[in-house]
Amino acid sequence: MDVEPLLLLLIPILINIGFFKLKLIKVLSILSALLTILISLSLYFLTPIITTFFLITKFTTFFLLMITSIYLLSTLYSINYIKPSRIVSERLYYILLNSFVTSMIFTVIVNNYGLMWVGIELTTVTSALLIVAEASETSLEATWRYIIIVSAGVTLALFSIILIYYNYHTLTITEITPENNIITRLAVALALIGFGTKAGVFPMYTWLPDAHSEAPSPISALFSGVLLPAAAYVLYMVYLINPLINIFVIFSTLSIITTSIILLNQWHIKRMFAYSTIENMNLALLGLVLGQPLGAIILLLSHAFGKAGAFYSSGIIVKILEEKRIENIDGLYSKLKLTSASLLMSSLAVTGTPPFATFIGEFLILQTLIQKGYTIEFVLILASLATAFISINYNITKIIFTQKGINQTNLKEPTLITFISLISSIIPLILGILLLVILP
C-alpha cells in the first residue's frame, strides 16, 4: 500500500474537521499545505508509483508540486484577504479551498481515465462557490457561466471516456496501449473539446476570463496556476491514446492567436491576466503534444508562480484602490511600491521575458515547433506572443509609472499579502537563472 499518495489525498480533506473554529481551520489549512508540499517532494524520489489506483511518475510530481505550492501561497494570502459574505462564510471558504486542492491532486494521480473525469468534475463542484465568495452580481453571473460552459464541455469529455471504455473495455491508464482507429480518434478529438474547455482551449475558453476576473485573487491564482494545468494534464493523458498532433496544434494556435487579439483591447486588469493564462496554457499544451515535456513543465511551473503573483498583486490593487479598469489606475509606484515591483515582475514573467523561466520554456517549445516543420504556426504564434507581450507590459508599465491624477502617497500596503505576492513573482526569476546555469 502506498501511503504517500493516500496521505496527499487525505490530509487536505481530514483537516476540514477543524471547521468549527475559524482560527483552527486557518492554521490547519496552512499546515496541510506545508505537509502536502513535503509529500510531493518525497514522491519525486519514490516514483514511479504504479498501482491499480495510482499512477505517479516524475512528470506527475511536477504537477503535484505546482498544486501544493500555490495551495500554500493562496492559503496564506487568504488569511488577510478573504472576508465573509452572505453566500460563503470564511469557514466554508477554507473547507472548499481544501476540497478544491484535493480534487486537483486526485485528478493528476489516479490511474484511471474515468476517475480523472470524475476529478475534473469535482474541481467544478468544489470551486464554483469559491468564485462567488465576494457575492457580487457579476461574480454570480461568472459562476453560472463557469458551471454551465464547463459542465457542457465535460459532458462531451464523458462521451470521450465512454468511447475509450467501448474500445478497450478498461479505463486503467497503464492497461491501455495506443491504438489508431476511428473510435480512439473520435475519443481524443472529443476530449480536446471536452477537457479542452477546462484547460482553456479555443473555442470553449469563454468561461475563463469571467471566472478568473470575478473570483477572489487567491482563487484566481489557483485557477490560473494549477487548475488549468491539471486539466491540460488529463487532456495530454487522453492524447497519448491516439496522438492527433495536427488537430491539437491547430486548436492551440487558434487559442493563442485569438487571445492575443483580445489582449490588444483589454480594459480589466484581472481579465487581462486571464487571457494571458489561455495563451500560456495553450503553449504548454503545444509543448506536451510536440514531445517537448521539459519545455512544457518549465513553462507551467514558472507560469504558476508568475501568474499567482500577478493575481495576488492585482488583488491588492483592487482591494486598496477599489479599481479594476486599467485606464483608471495610475502612478502605482508612488502609491504601492512593493505591489508595483511584484506586479511588474509577474507581468514580465508571464509574458516570457528573459531570464524568467517562462522564457526558457517558451523557447524550447517554439524550437521544437519549428523543428517539427510547423513553420506557419511558428510565425503566427511568435507574432501573437509578441502582441501579447507588448499589450500586457504596456498596460502594466502605464499603471505603474504614468502619473495622471492626484498622488495618493499615504496608502498602506498590507504586509503579509504583499510579501506573498512578491515571493510568488520572484520564483520564476530564480528558476530561470537556475535553469540557465543547469541546462547548458
Partner: protein, 212 residues
Amino acid sequence: MNSSEILELFSTFIVISALYIQGQAYFKPAIYVQAIQSTLIAILGFYLGITLSSIDYIVLGITILILRSILITIFLFRGLKEKPGIRESSRGVASELILDLIFSIIASLLIYYSVLKKINIITEINNTLILLFAFILLFQGLFLIISRRSTIFQFLGFIEEENSTILLGILLLPIPFLIEVSIFLDVLGLVIVSSILTLEKIEHSRLDELKG
C-alpha cells in the same frame, strides 16, 4: 414488441419530453416533465437490467430515480417558491422550438451519417440507429441552455445533457463506472445550482463587466 422496439419507444418519449420543455415558458410544467424524462431513463435502466440480468443497470435506475426524478425536482420547486413569477420573461418560445428542431435534427443526422455509420459501432441491442436519440437529447440540452435566460431552464438543459450521456452509455455498453459518474454530476446540480444559484439569480443577462 421486441427489445429494440421497446427501447426505441422509450427513447422517442424521452426526446418528446425534451422538446416539450423547449416549447414551454412556464417553470412548473417544465420541471415536472424533467422528472418524467429522468424517470423514463430510470425505467430504461430497469428494463435493461432485467433483460440483460445486470445489477449495474438496476443500481443506475435507482440512482437516477432518487436523485433526478425526486431530489432535483424538490430542490427546483424550493427555488421557485421564493420568486414572485413562475413564467420566464423571455418571448419567442415557439420560434425557438422550431429553430431547435432544425438544429437538433440536422446536427444529429450529421453525427449519424458522418460518424456513427462509418465507425461500425455495435450496441448492446444491435441497433446503432438508437444512439441517435442520445445525440438529439444532447443537442436539445445545449440548445435549451443557449436559448434561455432563466437559471431554471438553463439548469434543465444541463440535466438533459446529463440524461443524454446516460442514455448513450446504457445503449452502448455495460456501465459500471457511469453509476459513480452520474452521482457526481447530480451532486453538482444539487449542491451548487439548486441550493444557491437558483435562489440567488433567477435570470441571466449580459453584464458590461463580463464583456471582452
